[in-house]
């Protein structure tokens, strides 16, 4: 089994599951309960938050635990729009955001907000000049995905943050779901106000995430109720999963620092080098300024679904595009935004690695992949 679909979701680390089980059994009480058992749960929650803050180099009160990336993006975007609508109704984002952002912006448009969608170049990258030109007096939010989930393209987040530095009324949100642990990002250096991360993309449990919310920003909450998470996100805390998620953060960041990122880069470099000369193949992921774990490529003449299923039968798991929209047959909107033809976009697959993958897997993958496309090519002819 070779699992190269880590941008869709990852396998939790065994230590993460140990933490989950222990916390579920021993810290089951509601952290809001004021008795001793509740106090113990609250203590674990506090420690988890402190550790997460330390790992992200932010303050504990800036860490809001959520149910995942979708909630984080929805909360950041709509929470900003609803809280600051009196300041202005202009929002800025890009054409290549994850649907969790794009659909939220579409909803806001329906509510009367004015949204600028920045175009991207062939590499899937926006231009800083475009950002500058699109900024208005009434721009209350700029929201950009750091690492694109389909292409791996890295956006110039730091530069955008610098641009916004002297505009305190324009909040800057970064969707860091795909980049976290693989592409380092200093929230302060990039002048980020809001940043979304998700647990299940970094070997943590599903149903967990964090929205980093710079201290003092009063977002409008999406979930009203008991007032947990400093009043910004109600709902009984999913404590076992939170503790397990923070464990996954620590382990993933450790792996990243201990040569993990370089190993990912070596593996994608090896894939590129081995596949570059194949006449049917072209890379959609740019070679510069892209994440080390994602390689998107087009296989001429072979529809993505056909190839994914053919590989699937041989125990190799890759994807056609973002899992969240992979049920629909339309070509990827992200690839089309880069100027790829509909045909090339319908023939694209995404290979996405994790710290757990090895060069041996890459070599086996290459053998099977080459054979498979040769076979499919013959069939197609």
């Amino acid at each position: 089994m070779i699992y190269f679909d880590n941008s869709a979701t990852t396998k939790p680390y065994p230590e993460v599951l140990d933490t989950y089980r222990t916390a579920a059994e021993q810290f089951f009480a509601n952290p809001s309960s004021i008795h001793k058992l509740g106090g113990r749960s609250e203590e674990l929650l506090k420690k988890s938050r402190e550790q997460a803050a330390q790992l992200l180099r932010v303050k504990p009160q800036e860490v809001i635990f959520t149910s995942g990336g979708t909630e984080g993006n929805n909360f950041a975007i709509k929470g900003t729009a609803f809280a600051f609508r009196h300041r202005g109704k202009h929002l800025m984002t890009t054409r290549v955001e994850h649907p969790a952002s794009l659909r939220a912006f579409e909803q806001l448009e329906a509510l009367g907000f004015d949204v600028t969608y920045l175009e991207v170049d062939r590499n899937g990258r926006i231009s800083l000049d475009d950002v500058k030109k699109a900024l208005r007096e009434d721009t209350i939010l700029v929201s950009v995905i750091h690492v694109n989930n389909e292409l791996g393209t890295i956006q110039p987040v730091k530069e955008i943050g610098q641009l916004l530095k002297d505009r305190p009324k324009t909040l800057f949100h970064v969707d860091h779901v795909q980049g976290f642990t693989k592409v380092p990002l200093d929230f302060h250096e990039a002048n980020i106000d809001l940043c979304t991360i998700s647990g299940h993309k970094i070997h943590g449990p599903k149903g967990t995430g964090i929205l980093y919310k710079r201290e003092g920003i009063m977002l409008s909450p999406l979930l009203a109720g008991g007032g947990q998470e400093f009043g910004f996100r109600s709902g009984t805390e999913n404590l076992p999963a939170i503790a397990a998620f923070v464990k996954a953060m620590r382990l993933s960041l450790e792996r990243a620092q201990n040569g993990g990122i370089a190993r990912l880069r070596n593996m994608t470099d090896r894939l590129r080098q081995a596949l570059a000369s194949h006449p049917l193949l072209s890379f959609n992921t740019p070679s510069g300024a892209s994440a080390p774990h994602i390689l998107n490529l087009t296989v001429k003449g072979i529809r993505s679904e056909v190839l994914v299923h053919a590989l699937d039968r041989q125990g190799i798991y890759v994807s056609t595009k973002s899992a969240c929209s992979s049920k629909t047959q339309e070509p990827s909107a992200v690839l089309l935004a880069t100027g790829l033809s509909e045909e090339d976009a319908s023939h694209a697959i995404r290979i996405s690695l994790s710290f757990e993958n090895t060069m041996d897997e890459v070599e086996s993958f290459l053998d099977i992949f080459m054979q498979t496309i040769d076979k499919l090519e013959t069939v197609m002819e």
């Binding site: 679909d5 869709a8 059994e25 058992l37 509740g38 909630e71 599903k206 805390e237």
Partner: protein
């Protein structure tokens, strides 16, 4: 000494069998259910199996269940989704003064948006009056949200009767059954609701997962946008292990339901008997006849709840003053205030004792003795005189 946990209305210990059902999913079927390869398909099967189990349990069809991150999300999604979807038909909402904050605060939010909300009063047993409900109903009422069983005092509401009064109106009927689900067998067709919120951690399932029943044909405005999960009604990668764990907990809770309920009645009665035997002065807040089996809310005249709670906690008994979600600060319970008035002593001197799966009669005996001893510290001067 070991703590005796009598705060199951706040949350319950997860059943070890539930964790056992979840771990293999984490380890082996960890795929994203939206992926089209093997791992995605297997994960998809698991969530669809879970959906069937859950739908069957409440008499719904699988299509009518959407998975959420818990009770708060279900309540928010139901109320905001329904209010926004129906606002062309009217802007009036009816709820009660004793709802969970996930409903109350959402209604307050909707008021700010211009909706008109009627908060029904309750009687001293915590029950709304059907007459008051009928009087509140207007042609522009588009949504009614009334909880199934109250989380602080356990009182059950006349859900079926309300549903029949709503026949032929424009109003959708939502019930927060978070606290009731489990020991109460609930059939959505039978009770006639359009929307129902449930969370798993109240019936020995995992935290961070719940569901919302949406009767077929009812359209809600989507509140969480993104991928196309849950038929575009709730975006976000599925919490597959959580969903599997919840379905397991649903199966477990429905086994021998009546026996478990009888056990809760016995524990509750034993607590009451023991406190009576010890000569403690107390009164029941709520309605034993018409209440949830696992919740007992007691008024102890002369006590102060903050001090009482910490004394009990030190003595190893975990109970609460009201909903855990309002805890941290011990504000007077909005439920008791609604029942007895804002200056009523009940709001300052009452405990919620809530029983669960792993409680034994011995534990309840011990807890009752400790409660009696602690309370008598306050009450003694009065009684010894």
């Amino acid at each position: 000494m070991d703590h005796i946990y009598l705060d199951h209305a706040a949350t319950t210990p997860v059943d070890p069998a539930v964790v056992e059902a979840m771990l293999p999913v984490y380890r082996e079927i960890f795929g994203n259910p939206s992926s089209i390869h093997y791992f995605g398909r297997e994960a998809r099967k698991l969530i669809e199996d879970a959906r069937e189990v859950i739908a069957a349990e409440i008499g719904a069809t699988p299509k009518e269940i959407i998975f959420t991150s818990g009770g708060t999300e279900s309540d928010n999604a139901a109320l905001i989704g329904a209010a926004h979807a129906r606002q062309a038909l009217g802007r009036h909402i009816i709820t009660t003064k004793i709802e969970h904050h996930a409903v109350l605060h959402t209604c307050e939010h909707l008021e700010k948006e211009g909706f008109d909300v009627t908060y029904l009063d309750v009687d001293q047993k915590g029950r709304i009056s059907l007459d008051a409900f009928k009087n509140a109903l207007r042609p522009d009422t588009i949504l009614v949200s009334i909880m199934y069983g109250n989380n602080e005092v356990g009182t059950l509401q006349p859900i079926k009767e309300i549903a029949s009064l709503l026949k032929g109106t424009n109003a959708l009927f939502h019930t927060d059954a978070v606290q009731a689900f489990g020991l109460e067998a609930i059939n959505v067709r039978d009770i006639g609701v359009d929307l129902m919120s449930i969370t798993a951690h109240k019936f020995n399932g995992p935290k961070g997962v719940g569901f919302l029943y949406i009767r077929e044909g009812v359209l809600l405005e989507t509140y969480q946008h993104g991928g196309e999960q849950e038929r575009k009604r709730r975006a976000g990668t599925h919490n597959v292990p959580g969903i599997v764990g919840m379905a397991k907990a649903v199966k477990l809770v429905s086994e021998n339901r009546e026996e478990k309920k009888q056990m809760m009645y016995r524990l509750r009665q034993r607590m009451l008997d023991r406190l009576t035997e010890e000569g403690i002065d107390f009164a029941i807040n709520g309605d034993l006849e018409n209440g949830l089996a696992h919740i007992l809310n007691l008024y102890f005249p002369g006590t102060r709840v903050e001090a009482l709670l910490s004394a009990l906690d030190l003595a190893g008994v975990a109970v609460s003053s009201g909903s855990a979600c309002t805890a941290g600060s011990v504000e007077p319970s909005h439920v008791l205030t609604a029942m007895f008035g804002s200056d009523a002593p009940q709001a300052k001197s009452s405990l919620r004792i809530s029983f669960g799966l792993y409680n034994t009669e011995e534990q309840v005996e011990t807890a009752a003795r400790i409660i009696a001893k602690t309370v008598s510290g306050w009450q003694k001067p009065k009684h010894s005189g």
